[in-house]
């Protein structure tokens, strides 16, 4: 039924070519996830202020690549002015963007999973890529972990994202590599994938704490998992012992940082990415420029930074 409803929606979209000329289409990932919802808000706010029509689609889950390809195929039928996508994987990006190129529709990446270099390797001239580097995010998280560890040999537990997710892998790899550089004696006691899911992260943290009661740091590849870990730590009253670092800088995570439940979150500024993607898409649709790469800032949000509100980039933290 859910699929039928979704198919009907796509059918409606494909049956409205008359409205196609002013629309910019954005294809994002999992609906209901704070990160993608914030990005969609940035897109819609900027489109509204520029007076253009933006249509945002989300997949049902972070792994439904086929659904994303179907959305792309149908979106191309409606001949948008530009197509911007955060691809679930490189194969989907290549297929979707090839179809857009054949139709002469400017296409671009949002969130940085499919870079300009990736596009060039696939023989595609992509208009732009706006996003943050997930490997760098992992490295920044490790730098902060090393700073707050308080010892040269901390025991670290890593909560990875969905198996097969490019972003999740880069964040975990960046963290592990940098941590080994900074604290060679650190011990990663486990690195488990819990699909970016809050309660699975909570259960996995409780399980690991049975085996490793002297755990020092939990690094979660997104804030939902970090918040799950925080609830596990709170249940066991170990808030002072275990430090937790997340990624994304969502509203929930910021609240938890201010409440002292999370130590930090490396923010990705999805709102700014959404906003910039609209500006760049409008530009690409008129100038037909290609190859522009823009990396958004990834500030490490801590209680001190949030309270002082001193960094101008914080205005984009939503």
């Amino acid at each position: 039924m859910k699929r039928l409803g979704f198919a009907a929606l796509l059918l409606l979209l494909s049956l409205q070519p008359a409205f196609a000329e002013d629309r910019y289409i954005f294809i994002l990932i999992a609906r209901g996830n704070s990160y993608w919802t914030t990005m969609a808000n940035g897109i819609q706010d900027e489109a509204h202020s520029k007076g253009v029509t933006s249509i945002v689609y989300n997949t049902d889950s972070a792994t439904d690549a086929e659904q994303q390809l179907t959305i792309c195929q149908t979106a191309i039928q409606s001949k948008p002015k530009a197509l911007v996508m955060s691809a679930i994987n490189a194969s989907i990006a290549t297929q979707c963007f090839k179809m857009a190129a054949e139709q002469g529709i400017p296409f671009a990446d949002i969130d940085g999973a499919f870079s300009i270099t990736d596009a060039q390797k696939a023989g595609l001239k992509m208009a732009f890529s706006v996003g943050s580097d997930n490997y760098t995010i992992g490295q920044e998280s490790a730098q902060y972990a090393a700073k707050i560890a308080g010892k040269p040999n901390p025991k670290v537990f890593i909560l990875e994202g969905t198996v097969g997710s490019l972003q999740a892998r880069k964040r975990a790899d960046g963290f592990k590599d940098k941590l080994k550089d900074l604290l060679p004696l650190s011990d990663v006691v486990a690195s488990i994938s819990v699909n970016f899911d809050r309660i699975k992260a909570m259960n996995a943290t409780l399980d690991i704490l049975q085996r490793q009661p002297d755990l020092d740091i939990v690094y979660a590849a997104n804030d939902d998992m970090a918040l799950g870990a925080a609830e596990a730590v709170r249940t066991l009253h170990r808030e002072t012992q275990i430090k937790i670092i997340g990624v994304d800088g969502t509203a929930d995570a910021r609240k938890a940082i201010l409440d002292g439940r999370l130590n930090a979150s490396v923010a990705q500024l999805p709102y700014l990415m959404g906003k910039r993607s609209v500006e760049l898409a409008i530009d690409a649709s008129t100038s037909h420029k290609t190859g522009q790469s823009e990396t958004t800032a990834t500030p490490v949000l801590t209680k001190e930074l949030l309270q002082s509100n001193s960094d101008p980039v914080l205005q984009y933290v939503r």
Partner: protein, 316 residues
């Protein structure tokens, strides 16, 4: 003698198989991890199994009556989201928010049951429709974002313990007891099983199939509502994406516990053994820090082994 007693009753045989399977997992993990058999880890397994356990108890009634409910996880997400919305945004008292949210699950279940009765459509399709509606409603209520940060007194209560037993475990045990009473000690439970065995036989004996169906889905909805509230209490958030594919895990647990997927045979104890098998497996693999790829492989292999074991009984 013992073997004969077991094999004469399919329910007992299934229970014995499931118990054997659970024991095998327990022995394996207790030898491979020194932390597995500790009291705190057992509490841990039970706590982690509580949400799925409540959904699975509800699913037991539905499967016993020969139906399938695919909406249970989405209804759970809706109830948890509404409860969190009420507590945080609506400033409802917990004494209102919690019962209203659990009742909402019951209402969703009754609507599903009513629509099955009205349209005579397969429960698979009708509950798929309800799954979509409930999930959409959860997104609408929450504006697509988890509602995080609930009142401290509610969370402290939900995440606390009474006499060293975690509150989620107490809720699960209460749900199991009520489910056991309903299924084995009331006419309603008997009628649900007869309906699952044969609709014609049920109607021939004067049982109103429509009424039983309505009650079965209502009960399952109430259990989804309880699971939703528990999920919210554990995670300190009303999450509209909560429990994706939990309905399938719950159905798997019910079938692992010896229920017949086509109705007529199911037990609450069996279901709980099925839930515990899945919980123990996940906990044990985490304790051993098995890499994610191998965890997925092990879960698949263990489920296949359980399916094979259950077929041994059917061959007799």
């Amino acid at each position: 003698m013992f073997a004969r007693i077991l094999t004469q009753n399919p329910n007992r045989l299934s229970l014995a198989q499931c118990l054997f399977f659970l024991a095998a997992l327990g022995v394996f993990f207790s030898f491979t991890s020194p932390y597995f058999l500790s009291v705190s880890n057992i509490n841990n397994i039970l706590t982690a199994s509580a949400v799925i356990g409540l959904i699975a108890v509800g699913a037991t009634f539905v499967i016993a009556s020969g139906h399938i409910d695919l909406s249970s996880a989405a209804v759970m997400a809706l109830c948890g989201t509404v409860c969190a919305w009420g507590l945080q945004k609506g400033e409802w008292s917990p004494w209102i928010a919690l019962p209203v949210s659990v009742s909402l699950g019951g209402v969703c279940g009754l609507v599903t049951g009513f629509l099955i009765t009205l349209t005579k459509a397969p429960s698979f399709i009708v509950s798929l429709g309800m799954m979509s509606i409930a999930r959409a409603a959860a997104y609408i209520v929450s504006h697509g974002m988890p509602i995080y940060g609930l009142p401290d007194n509610v969370i402290t209560g939900g995440q606390g313990a009474i006499a060293s037993v975690p509150v989620p475990v107490l809720l699960l045990l209460t749900g199991i007891f009520l489910g056991w009473v309903l299924l084995t000690q009331t006419k309603f439970g008997l009628h649900a099983l007869i309906l699952g065995d044969s609709v014609f036989a049920a109607e021939a004996t004067g049982i109103s199939a429509n009424r039983v169906r309505l009650k079965v889905f209502g009960v399952a909805g109430l259990y989804s509502g309880m699971a939703g509230v528990l999920f919210m209490l554990r995670t300190n958030a009303g999450d509209p994406t909560a429990g994706q594919s939990y309905e399938l895990i719950a159905i798997t647990a019910v079938i692992l516990g010896g229920a017949n997927l086509f109705g007529g045979r199911a037990t609450i104890i069996g279901t709980m053994l099925g839930v515990l098998c899945l919980g123990v497996l996940q906990n044990g693999l985490n304790l051993l820090a098995v890499s994610t790829y191998y965890q997925i492989l092990f879960v698949g292999m263990v489920l296949l082994a359980a399916a094979f074991l259950s077929r041994v009984g059917y061959r007799r």
